[in-house]
């Protein structure tokens, strides 16, 4: 039986179709999930896709956090369900306190869209096992609230526990502390990052690279071997 990976659509989610496509290209079965449903349709993993849920009007992710679907996601994530938050999804995960820190307006105050080089700092998560530790990848970055902040103690803790999952290379695009592009929870099942791996899964589209496919093949392998 193929693994089922759910992608949540909130009002204002934009990259849900892209994430579903990435799941499909990786060989898993994509399942659409709706913000008003508590039911996760028995998926094996969940992707919180990018976009501007609720317009990001209060703070990115602040309103979506309180949706019915998130009640279940939070509960099950704590019990080990693999969850990947991309961009707005990452913001929702920090607002839900599944991941530490918070996201603020980019230090240059502009939306920025570019091909971004990253280093995969840990392969010890459900979503990065297919990469090599220290591997450099390029995936699109596109956001206006992408500046990762947390207090010094939290940052030190993340570093010490190897929970900084991705770091920006070749210039920090938004003022994120310690060049952090993404983090993981202690168990490694919940991962969030600002750049968009789901936009880098086909050779012709976007930047023309497929460096993001590893996220989806990682989870697939993990689920199949589980």
């Amino acid at each position: 039986m193929t693994s089922r990976i759910g992608v949540v659509t909130f009002p204002g989610t934009l990259d849900d179709r892209d994430s579903l496509r990435a799941v499909r290209i990786a060989g898993a079965e994509p399942v659409s999930l709706w913000h008003r449903d508590k039911d996760l349709k028995q998926v094996d993993a969940v992707v919180l896709a990018g976009g501007f849920s609720y317009g990001d009007y209060l703070r990115a992710g602040a309103i979506s956090r309180f949706s019915p679907v998130m009640e279940t996601v939070v509960e099950q994530a704590k019990a080990g369900l693999p969850v990947l938050g991309i961009c707005n999804g990452f913001q929702i995960l920090t607002e839900s306190h599944l991941l530490p820190g918070a996201m603020l307006r980019n230090n240059h105050l502009h939306f920025i869209c570019r091909d971004q080089k990253l280093r995969v700092e840990t392969t010890d998560t459900a979503w990065t096992a297919d990469y090599e530790a220290g591997q450099e990848i390029s995936v699109p970055l596109k956001n206006i609230d992408g500046r990762y902040v947390a207090d010094e103690r939290t940052l030190d803790e993340l570093e010490a526990e190897g929970r900084v999952a991705f770091r920006y290379l070749d210039g920090n695009p938004n003022g994120s502390l310690r060049d952090i592009a993404g983090v993981t929870n202690a168990a490694g099942n919940v991962v969030g990052l600002m750049p968009h791996p789901e936009h880098a899964v086909e050779p012709l589209i976007g930047t023309g690279r497929t460096d993001g496919l590893g996220f989806f093949t990682s989870i697939l392998k993990k689920l199949v071997s589980a």
Binding site: G12, D18, F52, Y54, G55, L204, G206
Partner: protein
Amino acid sequence: MTIKTLDTVKHASGTPEAEQPWKDLGLKEDEYARIREILERRPTGAELAMYSVMWSEHCSYKSSKVHLRQFGEKAPANDAMLVGIGENAGVVDVGQGYAVTFKVESHNHPSYIEPYQGAATGVGGIVRDILAMGARPVAVVDPLRFGAADHPDTKRVLPGVVAGIGGYGNCLGLPNIGGEVVFDACYQGNPLVNAGCIGVMKHEDIHLAKASGPGNKVILYGARTGGDGIGGVSVLASETFESTGPAKRPAVQVGDPFQEKLLIECTLEIFREKLVAGIQDLGGAGLSCATSELASAGSGGMRVELDTVPLRDATLSPEEILMSESQERMCAVVEPDKVARFMEICEKWDVIATVIGEVTEGERLEIFWHGEQIVDVPPRSVAHDGPVYHRPYARPDWQDALQADDANKLARPATSAELREQVLRLIASPNQASKAWITDQYDRFVQGNTVLAQPEDAGMVRIDEESNLGVAMATDGNGRYAKLDPYTGAQLALAEAYRNVAASGARPLAISDCLNFGSPEDPAVMWQFAEATRGLADGCLQLGTPVTGGNVSLYNQTGETAIHPTPVVAVLGVIDDVNRRTPIAFKEEGQLLYLLGETREEFGGSAWSQVVHDHLGGLPPAVDLDREKLLGEILISASRDGMIDAAHDLSDGGLIQAVTESCLRGGNGARLVVPDGLDAFTFLFSESAGRAVVSVPRSEELRFTDMCGARGLPVTRIGVVDGEAVEIQGEFSVELAELKDAHEGTIPALLA
């Protein structure tokens, strides 16, 4: 507080002599008389409001109509046209059962007053137009014009406009795949903010704006109606009656892209379930426009209970509700038994929907307010029978002198060192410099179908994941050329956009345009307009690319001074397999560079004449549309058959501009040789039309040059992709790093 007397139809019939503020609403005396004649009585306040806004220049095209007719009259026979001018947007067949709708519109004036919101709502408006045709919006483009790059006000306007376009488009999830940024002092007090959108649907999903089927319900859905964007109608509210609402209604609206995103998803779901008989977006003139257009395109009768309209501000008068340009609203005509399902879908997407009326047997548009009739008009008379002006036009007396001031006689660089210096100055000038600082604020990846985007010649998106069918679009316009000769200038805009699309490997199919001009009351401006439309219509006929729709923006001026005539043309192309797209990057070292087309001494209106001499005079480059067509065919065949790996069209800035961009994009240098019969200066800077530079693998050289020879297209080998510098043999060499600094440093330095 005075109790407001409702100006009902009955009241109006009984008080024929009542004074009415038609003048303050922008109507002319004969127009007001005409309304009285149509109604055989004086209009009510609500009717007057509707007529005044629908008969305005913006909605009725009264000055431009007689010229725009040529687009229909001279339309080339074209099988691809499914829906032509007159609907919200035209629709073309792109094969495999798909249809594409696209259009460009202007939001110039609001963007000067409130750059962020003005530009944002411009994007919102054009996207709803596309949506109303039944299509899923798949990409946006934004041709922009600003005042001088170093003028302090440009620092206010440009960042706001760019943030607004990004803020709205990014939040909707529409990739921005192209546009323009041009600086010129003539746009100082009147920037041009044009926005275009492309939508895709299956043939059977095309929807039209018409209200037919008596008994069908009229449903208003989306945002609540507020007091924004009412403009002239505040006059009505305050002068005819004792106003009870806020005294002044703002002319600028705030956009809510989140609401629009919900509206898109909700509407697409409604289309999927085939729940609407007719649909119309609410844009300029709000409900007045939507109800009168829907009714007149259908069987004619419609009854609306205006007090059912959900309001944001309870103090709004019926006139104001009719006029409000509140954003993010749509109006649908739905069969009674489908209303419940329609409402369910709206509820699912948190979209407010209200039945406000129904289609009737009659031929009148009737609007009621708390049970009393305040509008009773033939809808056609509001929507279509507005005034038509034959405005006087005359070739301006300064035109001859301008054309006689020949740019070809300007002092040219005397030494290689001077030539080199001018090359660097040109590619670093604000108009020729990289616009990445701007375009990096736009999401070009969202939806996961973007094949090409800035800084490529054309934007391209895949529309079918199985077959790899794709569409491409480029927008172009050169106000300097058009000022020198509006007829030729319009054709050059068309030719350039056509060439850009062909250079990307796509086949140009049809066009949309946005015609930005000064005041139509100035005969010189009207002449520019007449010439430009004539040029464009003739050009489209010759190229076989019909005009599917567009937009006219007049009164673009600072005080008495009009902007350069600025016709902006958007060409849509189709490509059967996006794998065959041609990028601009010189990626492969050792490949041969060929120049296609002929290079003449043509410097009138050129970037070189502006940057080096601050000069505008002479004649623009000559146009040869048959040549453009041939060039296009060669570029498309070469891409399809794998004969070229890169292509870049030549336009403003000439060859050196194109080569610089292709080298920087590919990270490779080039060694160029000045061809026999040309001097280095003309080779590098001339802006002769009908040209492109291509990068050819050595294995394909013979096949490619044979094809050009056989078809009669001049082709000249000009060099090779090589090294870390752009070298002009016998003249000079510039390291890529130095080119990059010059090209990419300018805009951030001015604006960041």
